[in-house]
């Protein structure tokens, strides 16, 4: 296998693995966060504004981990510097 094939295969496989493995952790964590928030809302409904706001801030922080994985896989597919380099090489030849 020459360089182009290796780079293409590695990028595609790793992009898929990145986003699939990277979504597991944040999904589980968000589920736990929402469950705990619902429990505390049921116990103290008059603090619902604070709980809801803190819940949303916490969900955004957890979500950003999944977003990092998504950005990495997008870069591998659409803005891959190694791929651009070998394409430029073969175009120049």
């Amino acid at each position: 296998m020459d360089n182009m094939t290796i780079i293409a295969v590695a990028s595609i496989v790793i992009a898929g693995i990145t986003i699939s493995l990277g979504s597991i952790g944040p999904a589980l964590a968000e589920g736990r966060a929402v469950a705990t928030a619902l429990t505390s809302l049921a116990q103290q409904p008059d603090a619902s504004a604070t709980i809801t706001r803190t819940l949303f801030v916490g969900l955004a922080m957890i979500e950003s981990i999944a977003i990092y994985c998504f950005v990495v896989s997008m870069i591998l597919i659409f803005a891959n510097p190694f791929w651009n380099h070998v394409i430029a090489q073969t175009a120049g030849k």
Binding site: A49, F56, V57, A60, I67, V71, F78
Partner: protein
């Protein structure tokens, strides 16, 4: 299919490029500034007021209440900066309903610029509130060993702000683009609605996180002196 509106270039001359991000950013700025100017031309103090003035008052008092709830003692000092952050990101997300529009926050340049504004604003407000020495001393709390970690956390949360907003807006635009090539009729509309929801949530998150960082930097750490008790005779 492009990764961000940076890649749609309308005009270039040398290294100066007029791309879609700049055009849409300036369009949003003109719309928000021009609209507010038109609404606040004849402000009325009494009960009778135009509905647009009412709308602006609701928005401004709502943001002020949120800032006070997070813990900043005088919200009107920070209302300009934090309110603008929220309104710009929210307007950039909501205008997705206009056909042919791409949110400028879907480009890493815009979100990095906004995150850098927050990065500069936090020490600025901290120094303004506490003085230079006290603010710099707060980096060494609770012990001097935490100094590099505090500095690293400042840098990393700026980066996290930029990438979080960029990732959310770019993924929304890209999902709609991909789905349009697969199932053109109903599903892209549902994803557009989801994109609107996440856009508003991300606008709220961005401004609340900026508020929390500024509140952490301006928190008065000196213990307040005990009020003098009258000695019973």
């Amino acid at each position: 299919m492009h990764l961000s509106p940076d890649q749609i270039v309308f005009w270039h001359y040398g290294f100066l490029k007029l791309n879609a991000t700049i055009v849409f950013t300036w369009g949003l700025m003109l719309m928000m500034a021009g609209g507010s100017k038109l609404i606040t031309r004849n402000l009325s103090i009494g009960i009778q007021r135009s509905r647009w003035q009412n709308l602006l008052e609701i928005v401004v008092t709502g943001i002020e209440k949120q800032i006070a709830e997070v813990g900043l003692s005088r919200p009107e000092k920070y209302l300009g900066f934090l309110g603008t952050l929220f309104l710009f990101v929210a307007a950039a997300a909501v205008c997705t309903v206009i056909p042919g529009y791409e949110p400028p926050t879907a480009s890493l340049s815009t979100t990095a610029a906004l995150a850098l504004c927050v990065f500069v604003a936090v020490p600025f407000f901290g120094v303004e509130e506490q003085g230079v020495r006290n603010y710099l001393k707060s980096y060494a709390k609770p012990t001097i060993i935490m100094l590099p970690f505090n500095i690293i956390s400042e840098l990393s949360r700026t980066l996290a702000l930029a990438v979080r907003l960029f990732g959310n807006m770019m993924s929304g635009a890209m999902i709609i683009g991909i789905l349009l090539t697969i199932t053109p009729f109903i599903f892209p509309i549902i994803m557009t609605v989801l994109g609107l929801l996440t856009g508003m949530v991300q606008a709220y998150i961005f401004s609340i996180l900026a508020t929390v960082y500024i509140a952490a930097a301006t928190r008065d750490r000196k213990p307040k002196p005990e009020p003098v008790q009258a000695i019973p005779a």
